[in-house]
């Protein structure tokens, strides 16, 4: 049997010996006269839906698909409507995505093998057009990208949306720089002793280091390093390390230690200025075992300065445990201003950046996304299915 079709609107069928047209036809009738009584349903065409315009309630949910990680995915949901809008197939070891400032494109660092799990390895930043959430181009990068438990900092983007940085580990640490506008790999920058990407402007970024500092990099227009520096040590990694999961507001990154201290680091011109640490917990709360923990357990609302932190009661080494509460802080006053009881335990949280913000939470082992009103704490939506092992949500 062979066939051709025209613009998805019809089909010219030519049957081989094995297919009997009569058998097919008795099954189908395109009725031209209405039957008795009500008008029958009309014949329909089928088509491909178009994505609605981006709204502040768009949330991308990373799904490494842990038990089928060659088949990584990213889900786009409308958190307010509680709907899945679309999906991206993103290949092996999907960690984090970079969303263009105008949300016209999404950049995904990913790994491919020519034969699924063997053959030639290709690492690339794949450029997805947001309109169809489909890959339209790729920029091949050195096959060195770091992978593991997904974290936001495995990649980063310059504030102007031109450079995407991809963390490498071979185990030597470095990062690749891609110009996603020119769709060109610019180069690889060594970052020994430091890991992950924390963008701090249009041509600057920082990386967290095992000696309790951040290393800062300033780049030129072709991605070469023009300045590199180490901050003063601002935490003791052997006593109370900061986790890799941080939040940014303006040009300040907020890091969080295992024991619940906030370490703000302000960046200016690419240079790091660690600020005094402050505690998320009172002594009493700390005595009661309250801790931070999870995956991307913190999020910040840029405009209103609220910090949202998933907390739990636990012991030492519980820094990856999920929590049933989000504690809300005012970054200006450092005061705890609210407590949100979650419907389901969570390891990661994102907050939409509009004036009626929503909290989006997930935990790794459940294919469920929960949406809360960030102001009232009320459960707004539960979106079931989709991401099999959601790692963390990202908002544009």
């Amino acid at each position: 049997m062979t066939w051709t079709h025209g613009e998805h609107r019809g089909l010219i069928l030519s049957l081989g010996e094995g297919m009997n047209m009569k058998k097919l036809l008795w099954l189908i009738a395109c009725v031209t006269l209405p039957a008795h009584g009500a008008e029958p349903l009309k014949a329909e065409t089928y088509f491909t839906a178009t994505l609605p315009k981006p709204t502040p309630h768009w949330v991308f949910v990373n799904d490494m698909n842990f038990l089928g990680y060659v088949d990584g995915k990213v889900y786009l949901i409308d958190a307010g409507a509680g709907k899945m809008l679309g999906m991206m197939s993103t290949g092996t070891y999907q960690m984090a995505i970079e969303i263009a400032p105008d949300v016209s494109a999404v950049y995904v660092p990913v790994t491919f093998y020519s034969r699924g799990t063997h053959g030639e390895r290709t690492d690339a930043v794949v450029i997805y057009e947001t309109e169809g959430l489909t890959p339209v181009a790729e920029v091949v990068i050195p096959p060195k990208r770091a992978t593991g438990m997904p974290m936001r900092g495995y990649s980063g983007m310059s504030d102007d949306g031109r450079f995407v940085y991809v963390a490498n580990m071979t185990p030597a640490s470095s990062f690749s720089v891609v110009d996603v506008v020119a769709r060109k790999f610019l180069g690889e920058i060594e970052s020994a002793g430091c890991a992950l990407i924390f963008p701090t402007g249009n041509r600057s970024l920082a990386s967290l280091c095992g000696d309790g500092t951040v290393q800062t990099f300033v780049l030129d227009e072709v991605g070469a390093v023009t300045a590199r520096a180490k901050s003063a040590p601002f935490f003791d990694p052997n006593v109370d390390p900061v986790t890799e999961k941080a939040s940014r507001r303006g040009n300040t990154w907020y890091f969080f230690s295992f024991e619940g201290y906030v370490h703000p680091v302000a960046f200016e011109g690419g240079t790091a200025n660690p600020q005094p640490k402050w505690s998320l917990f009172t002594d009493e709360e700390r005595n009661d075992g309250w801790r931070v923990g999870g995956s991307q357990f913190n999020a910040v609302h840029e405009a209103n300065g609220r910090l949202y932190v998933i907390v739990h009661q636990g012991e030492t080494d519980s820094h990856k445990d999920p929590g049933m509460n989000v504690w809300v802080y005012d970054l200006a006053t450092r005061a705890k201003v609210d407590v949100i009881d979650l419907e389901s335990h969570a390891v990661s949280v994102a907050v939409t950046q509009d004036v009626e913000p929503l909290l989006v939470t997930n935990t790794l082992e459940l294919p469920v996304i929960h949406v809360y009103d960030a102001t009232s704490g009320a459960l707004v939506n539960v979106i079931e299915g989709g991401p099999m092992t959601p790692s963390f949500p990202q908002v544009p």
């Binding site: 089909l11 009309k42 491909t48 989709g386």
Partner: protein
């Protein structure tokens, strides 16, 4: 033993014992998305001016549930849960031009309609609203009526994402 393992195994065992086989399958049945060899006959051309969109006024039910009447012979992820609808592929996916069909009774008018379960292709499994119902389903050597085949053919590639349920018209012999 993995994390799904413990969860899934135990609860599913309970469910398996507590519910009828049929009910079980209706809720948890598995199988690969759509398909088989059947043309989308010239139906579409008939109404190029104002094509009907699902769901239509003369029907009821939730197209994002397995119980929706059009799904009587579907096997796959419901596109309505994936960013599409009963007759729309999700953004960026490509509808397969041909597929398998079922004959389903619309409870509103009591009439039997031929439903075309065109697959949407180009992205891997949507993962939501997996639905397997087998009314009139036939083996793959009768592809036009078999819901076990992957029908991402005639598309850029054969990567299956979800399945639609498009009204083709009234069934003749009912």
């Amino acid at each position: 033993m993995n994390f799904f393992d413990r969860l899934v195994t135990r609860s599913a065992r309970r469910i398996a014992r507590a519910t009828s086989r049929r009910h079980f399958l209706a809720r948890f049945g598995v199988a690969l998305g759509g398909t088989a060899a059947l043309p989308l006959l010239p139906v579409a051309r008939a109404e190029s001016t104002s094509p009907a969109r699902a769901p239509q006024p003369g029907e009821q039910g939730d197209p994002t549930t397995c119980e929706y009447w059009r799904h009587c012979a579907i096997d796959g992820f419901l596109c309505g849960c994936c960013g599409g609808s009963a007759n729309a592929c999700p953004p960026g996916t490509e509808p397969a031009p041909v597929t398998w069909i079922g004959t389903c009774k619309n409870p509103v008018d009591g009439k039997d309609y031929v439903i075309s379960y065109n697959d949407c292709c180009g992205k891997s499994a949507c993962g939501r609203c997996l639905c397997n119902r087998n009314e009139g389903d036939r083996p793959v050597y009768m592809p036009a009526k078999s819901n076990d085949l992957n029908w991402c053919h005639g598309t850029s590639n054969n990567i299956y994402h979800c399945s639609t349920a498009v009204v083709l018209g009234l069934a003749l012999d009912d």
